[in-house]
Symmetry: C2
Subunit: 337 residues, 2 copies
DNA sequence: CTGTTAGCGCTTTCAC
DNA sequence: GTGAAAGCGCTAACAG
């Protein structure tokens, strides 16, 4: 639109050389205080704004961290985005968010866009990029990945996966302890590692208590509400004896909850229901939903700090994510029959 | 980390001059096809990625659109972010998201950060920046604002506010038509234009039906779930005769719903409940919540297209947002007593 | 402490 | 059609 004020103009206005202005801006060397005052006044007067890119061109740093998320409107990943934002706050780095929509092609495309913008580091949240590509990226810049088991440490990167399997196991054990035996499972997207891990945890728990695994008690969903509703209908039709259902995430649990409401089946009196992810809304469903909280905000914060430490050479202690069972009111005791 | 491949290296590899490579990349002039092939091979071989900033420095465009949102994890604004992302897709522009957290200071700060990054245009979602500042910004670059009544057209900007007042009026009229007379209202943040507009719509509807406005039927909330829960408790205590409650947004309606659940008050048999915003989860509450859908995704899309049209000189038809009453099951008929 | 000089990687005249 | 040269706005040696 309108030509922007340049550092040279500030220098002229203040009667000093461009380098002096630059020194004041970057704090790279001491400057006589009277000149500094003049310069600051000139900056104010012209309302000068340094051009980040021009600076980046010479320093070799764009001051931005690329963040590949899957869906900018996903309630799950957005917690991590908040954490990343907080982690980068005051560091001089800005996050550059882009969505991959769980499509490998999209993800590769946006990673290219981020690299063209010379992001100084990359944070990857979920997605289906091959491990190989991530490894390759890690050779080029600091990379921090969430959601897969992958060793990036050789290249100075990191990958952190929450132990979904273990948490799912605990959750199902909790149901078993309360007397439930016929426990349905609505699974998430089959191609999704978290869905697989949660199913594995479900099986672990059954095995631990010597309950035979019944394949028809598991129905396929896609992590979205409608699939939870349909999944619950299927389970109800096939297994009237069922007393509890474990949904692979909260969104499907919401759908399942509605299916029950429609049929007048009470939660938890008639059927117990548990989810996974502990979305913000889950504490306010009726009844509040028992779920597993994943510390995504903290994780995002830590991922940001991790790449920052790679960038600035600082130290950083390891992050030990604590998955936490949120025991609420959607699970009831089953009287021994 | 690792030095990046430059255009000059590509030129050398292909045995042509840098300008030729540039011409091929930008398509600014015809080039003999054999050279083009050589260059493309060199690009492939070196896996060259053009430096967006270096280009921007000379073209005077960063290829990015700044987006000031309030909370990167807000379910409400995120729909708009999705729309913006979609609107920018394939345009060569990338969104640069930053959060203002409803704090004027934060908002001003991030706007500065965006301007330093030489965003080519700015989209502002909500927030509490003074109109004056927005006007000032609009003189510098294309600006598109959501959530306030403000005329930016003199500077080629735009501002679009959904008619919350009218929608709230219709929603409350709907309750009145179903026989409700004692209707509570849990208000959103008092300093928030939308909250004020929705309260005004509530009053409009009452007046239209000659129902006196009872101040104590309105309690203060802050748009978050806990305030809905508390607000409902207050209303219940003060107005046992109340048969319906209008919450200024869905999140507060969720909180209110839980307060009712705790007391065994049935929805909609004993009390009707309506919200505003139609969050994704609202179709899956029990019962599904009657609310007002705001076309945020479409709005975001249009805002993106608007700034794009300013940037590229294209034409764009006006956006006529349709607020839509989502009539679901949380409202019941009141028998005439 | 401060000014001069030389680029960072790219596009864009301007000649040929 | 194509190359040489001149910057875009800034920082980082290099001298003083």
């Amino acid at each position: 639109m309108q030509r922007q004020v340049t550092l040279a103009e500030v220098a002229r206005e203040a009667g000093v050389s461009p380098s002096t202005v630059s020194r004041i801006l970057t704090g790279s060397a001491r400057v006589r205080s009277d000149k500094e005052i003049q310069v600051r006044q000139a900056i104010e007067k012209l309302s000068y704004r340094p051009n980040t890119f021009a600076r980046g061109l010479v320093t070799g740093s764009s001051g931005s961290v690329g963040v590949l998320t899957q869906d900018i409107a996903s309630p799950f990943y957005n917690d991590a985005l908040s954490g990343i934002e907080r982690g980068l706050l005051g560091s001089g780095y800005m996050p550059l968010f882009a969505s991959g929509h769980w499509r490998q092609g999209d993800e590769e495309h946006v990673v290219q866009l981020l690299l063209r913008r010379r992001v100084d580091a990359l944070i990857v949240l979920g997605g289906c990029l091959p491990d190989q590509e991530l490894l390759q990226l890690a050779t080029q810049l600091p990379v921090a990945v969430q959601g897969r088991a992958l060793d990036l440490s050789a290249h100075g990167g990191t990958s952190i996966a929450l132990n979904n399997r273990e948490a799912a196991r605990e959750l199902v054990l909790y149901l078993l302890e309360r007397g439930h035996r016929a426990i349905g499972h609505i699974m998430g997207r089959a191609d999704h590692g978290d869905a697989q891990a949660r199913l594995a945890g479900y099986k672990d728990a059954l095995q631990e208590k010597d309950i035979p695994f019944v394949p028809s008690l598991v129905v396929q969903g896609d992590f979205l509400e409608p699939s939870g509703l349909i999944g619950m209908q299927q389970l109800l039709a096939a297994h009237p004896e069922m007393t509890a259902v474990f949904c692979s995430n909260d969104q499907m649990a919401y759908g399942a909850r509605l299916a029950l409401y429609r049929r007048g089946i009470r939660v938890p009196e008639d059927l117990s229901l548990v989810g996974f992810d502990d979305l913000p809304g889950s504490a306010y469903t009726t009844p509040p939903l028992t779920s597993v909280r994943q510390p995504m905000e903290e994780l995002g914060f830590w991922l940001a700090r991790f790449v920052l430490s790679r960038l600035t050479g600082g130290e950083l202690e390891a992050f030990v994510p604590q998955l936490e069972l949120k025991l609420r009111e959607s699970v009831g005791f089953l009287r021994r029959s």
